[in-house]
Symmetry: C2
């Protein structure tokens, strides 16, 4: 209930959302947390999603943990992007879980990956472990849509990965596949198994996996927008 008392209304449009995100630039996470009557954890080992959820609340995101965009009316997905001192992403970015039954049934155009990445608000945050979580500062915000070239590259990766999964060969997939989009485990721990029906109608049990964007991909997004000629 305490969390509701200072809840932020959903932004009315893109401009308001972007303005709010830019107003966070330069602020320390501890300050933003204080606005919400919460405190920053000492580190993120046991609170891995904390920064993302803090920024969601600060911006008035509505879709808490549901399979819809963070800003439903605007169709915009929020992603925080942890960076090092040079402004380079320090982690890959989780996109969505791999829907075993669906992949192989739907084309790229109707895939969850494309849906999630169609329109993203990237919010840069200091991500070096040497900096206490509360002392980390929010950086730039960027409302992004993939360029035609970026979408083609993601589509190529997706079709390669989806093809393998559709054949029932998900166990052969490693994080080494895919130039920009990769598949890696997404579970509480490696003993987790999830039941599903494959394309042949067979029952299978596998470790749950997710699609992730490699850090090289998100680095290129930041490059394009912030390392302009002469900048």
């Amino acid at each position: 209930m305490a969390a509701k008392e200072h809840a932020v209304d959903p932004p009315r449009d893109e401009a308001e959302l972007l303005a709010r995100a830019r107003a966070l630039a330069g602020r320390r996470l501890a300050e933003i947390a204080a606005d919400q009557r919460v405190t920053a954890p000492p580190d993120l080992r046991h609170h891995k999603g904390w920064v993302g959820q803090l920024i969601e609340r600060a911006l008035g995101a509505t879709a808490a943990s549901r399979a819809v965009p963070d800003f439903i009316e605007l169709g915009i997905e929020l992603k925080t992007l942890p960076v090092d001192r040079r402004g380079r992403p320090v982690e890959s970015t989780f996109v969505c879980t791999v829907p075993l039954a669906e992949v192989g049934e739907v084309p790229w155009e109707r895939s969850r990956v494309r849906g999630k990445l169609a329109h993203v608000l990237w919010v840069v945050v200091q991500g070096e472990r040497a900096i206490t979580v509360g002392d980390r500062q929010v950086g730039a915000a960027l409302l992004w849509r993939p360029t035609a070239a970026q979408e083609q590259a993601l589509k190529d990766d997706w079709e390669e990965l989806a093809g393998i999964i559709a054949l029932g060969d998900i166990e052969t997939i490693t994080g080494r596949l895919g130039q920009f989009l990769q598949v890696r485990p997404k579970a509480a721990h490696s003993r987790v198994r999830r039941r599903s029906i494959d394309t042949e109608g067979e029952m299978i049990e596998t470790l749950p996996r997710g699609f992730y964007l490699r850090a090289t991909f998100t680095a290129s997004i930041l490059q394009e927008h912030f390392a302009l000629p002469g900048g």
Copy 2:
């Protein structure tokens, strides 16, 4: 954690399960609760499943809230049956939720209703509201399998109801249909809606519903076993 300290091991076989259930006969729910370091609520308005869960723990049931039998290894389902002073059931008995996509695809023989009712341990408990929950006594226990006639009657009802659902006419179903097996709402409240795909591949949103046994059916089960000739 406290609940684990006095946890009861799963019964090894039918005989042990039945013996344990019969050992509860005559005991007050408050006594059984005390064994588990819990206390009986004043009434069941806000604790509707409390009695069933108390007896589950007392007997060593393993399948907490999962879509498998309560006693997995034995394939036995536990049902508490609230009765009035004459020993007649005061409520219908919930069997399982209506699986919209599945009904119409599978025959009675592979239906969830038949699976749940194939082997049931009925545990009679006083159910009159005039008696405080803690003061209610456990009654007889009965390990039951449907007779051929009972199964045929349930199958007839199921096929009528499943046929209507398969046609996409679930909204026309009322609790009045079915001689022994009926379909009624099963949800937190009447505004709940659940998405599903019907047999035509259409997206539908309906109030979640469940299959229930009418009290007349469970009354007949008790009759057969406890009102023997000369008894």
